[in-house]
């Protein structure tokens, strides 16, 4: 119903995909992972950013990625696997170049998110947690992404695509597929999911200056206050 089948058989759960052992993790990647571990007072704290980095290199949490993290942190691969399978952003199978998320938590769903998801599924010919055959797109149904005043929303590579409609979404997917430049509504030109994952690993990409200070809804209170001459801070303190 409503795009939400009740799932009750969990055949392929319990670990990452062990049938695909391919990896791009090389000496440089191991050095980078080690450097991430050294940023923290206790190195195990680095596991989550390290797994983000593994995804940026291998397109998913690869078996090799798990083993390397375990080795660097001095923990068991089972412990790494326990973490990798807990958090939804860690992917078991290769994500697309662009990873699409459509919010279908109650508010977005009601305001059009369900239809948006169906439109995207139809457009890409894949269901949630699937990747297109050409590796260009993967799709995920996301839970509330903290942009409810922009509902319904879609995420591409965890960049905001606000106030979405099926038409806008289809255009974005067409443009991305064609290699045309698409800009996040509140951020930079979309590059790739793998790139985003490296930023999440703590490797700053210099793109903070992209995009606006805030989206339109974020400023509405401020605008209403200005219209009424309301201020929050004491008189004369505004520079």
């Amino acid at each position: 119903m409503s795009g939400h089948e009740f799932e009750h058989t969990f055949d392929n759960t319990g670990s990452v995909d062990m049938t695909d052992t391919s990896t791009n993790i090389d000496k440089a990647a191991i050095d980078q992972l080690t450097a991430i571990a050294e940023k923290y007072p206790r190195k195990r704290s680095a596991l989550m950013p390290m797994l983000h980095f593994v995804q940026s290199v291998d397109g998913r949490v690869s078996p090799r990625g798990i083993e390397v993290c375990a080795e660097i942190l001095g923990i068991t691969p089972a412990q790494v696997s326990g973490v990798a399978t807990f958090y939804t952003m860690y992917k078991r199978r290769p994500a697309g170049k662009h990873h699409i998320g459509v919010c279908t938590t109650a508010l977005c769903a009601v305001m059009g998110g369900d239809a948006l998801l169906e439109a995207v599924e139809r457009k890409l010919g894949i269901g949630e947690e699937e990747t297109t055959a050409d590796g260009m797109f993967s799709l995920e149904k996301v839970e509330c992404n903290a942009a409810c005043d922009f509902a319904p929303i879609m995420m591409v590579n965890w960049e905001f695509m606000d106030n979405m409609t099926p038409e806008k979404a289809e255009q974005i997917l067409d443009d991305l597929a064609a290699g045309r430049e698409v800009r996040s509504t509140r951020g930079p030109v979309l590059s790739s999911w793998a790139h985003t994952e490296s930023v999440l690993a703590g490797i700053y990409d210099g793109q903070a200056d992209e995009g606006p200070s805030a989206g339109e809804p974020s400023l509405r209170g401020l605008q209403a206050a200005a219209a009424h001459g309301w201020t929050g801070v004491p008189e004369g303190s505004q520079k």
């Binding site: 769903a109 009601v110 059009g112 903290a146 690993a201 809804p217």
Partner: protein, 439 residues
Amino acid sequence: MTDTLTPVLTRNWGTDRSWTLDAYRAQGGYEGLKKALTMAPVDVMNEVKAAGLRGRGGAGFPTGMKWSFVPQDNPNPKYLVVNGDESEPGTCKDIPLMMASPHTLVEGAIISAYAINAHTAFIYIRGEVVHPIRRVQAAVKEAYEAGLLGTNILGTGYDLELIVHAGAGAYICGEETALLNSLEGLRGQPRLRPPFPAVAGLYASPTVINNVESISTVPSILRYGKEWFASMGTEKSQGFTIYSLSGHVKNPGQYEAPLGTTMRQLIELAGGMRDGHELKFFTPGGSSTPILTAEHLDVPLDYEGLAAAGTMLGTKAMQVFDETVSVVRTTKRWLEFYKHESCGKCTPCREGTWWLVQLLAKLEAGQGEEGDVDKLLSVADTITGKSFCTLVEGAIACVTSAVRHFRPEFEVGCHTPAWDYLPYSASALFPISDKEVHA
């Protein structure tokens, strides 16, 4: 007389390149820090305590008091952890704050860390929002370069390392002990209390965990004084806050106002309901707070006012739904959220959400049986009051408040699908066919 809207945290959000250190300093940024560093840490703590700031992440615990629980004679390092895991459905204030003015947060983090004698602090931000993370990463970088972080901050001899940490998709990590586990590289499941984090938190050391908005409020208190802060709001809910309006209002968005503002005022500020529609129900503080209806429009939106109305201020996330919306649909969808986000640790949450989703799915599909609404309430009662943390209590609040206000609509689920009773197309912001929505 306080103004209806009080932009303090949001004040600079419209400024050109507001996220940069230059822009932040141009409007007086880091003045609060300068002042704080001339004070003894304990005085900074007392200032925040006296201002009456309460946690803005949901629970509303007095921030200064939380700081005072840190045993300063504990030989372990003290840690500050900023909770930027904003994930409560409807909540969308911390993300724009970190995007538009990350230095407000960084300044607040430095002052707060100073107040508790911490020399390492973390900002834990949910992973699914990369641009705000970038902005905070850049702000921290700028702050280090400007001598606002690192060793000997502003020549005062105070040292602080600030680490920006991205989550990886787990609502439960908004719960502070789950967040600590996550930050230690573990599965984000909550910890037993006691010991409380103030005594044994991160790395079993004294730790303060505060919400992004709480920490970001601290610089203004230091800069303008506790009296200024306490002059706003209501008797026990002092100061201002960001109310997040979403849903079927004309102008959804962030409205920063004194605590105690009413829903009627906020909807009016947001331009009213969308044309031709009226309010059916709203969440006062995210989906985990029991829903309210039009009869609650004048309830003061503060900790006490909402408690009196049988709900909670929560994260001040007003999700507004008009009369087109099926409450059965939203309830089921929220329950799917809780089921998806249940960490699995305790029985009532793991199994209870599993059951409730199935019961609600039957009702949404019009396949309920006689007595199913009572059963829904009975199962909710079976689940409530026994869980490890409060995640499933949010789920229960969804169900029980929805049935309390709209029982007949749930009864309809015993014969008519929700999408026939209240066609889903009517709720969407763009034209869609009903066939499409629930094919």
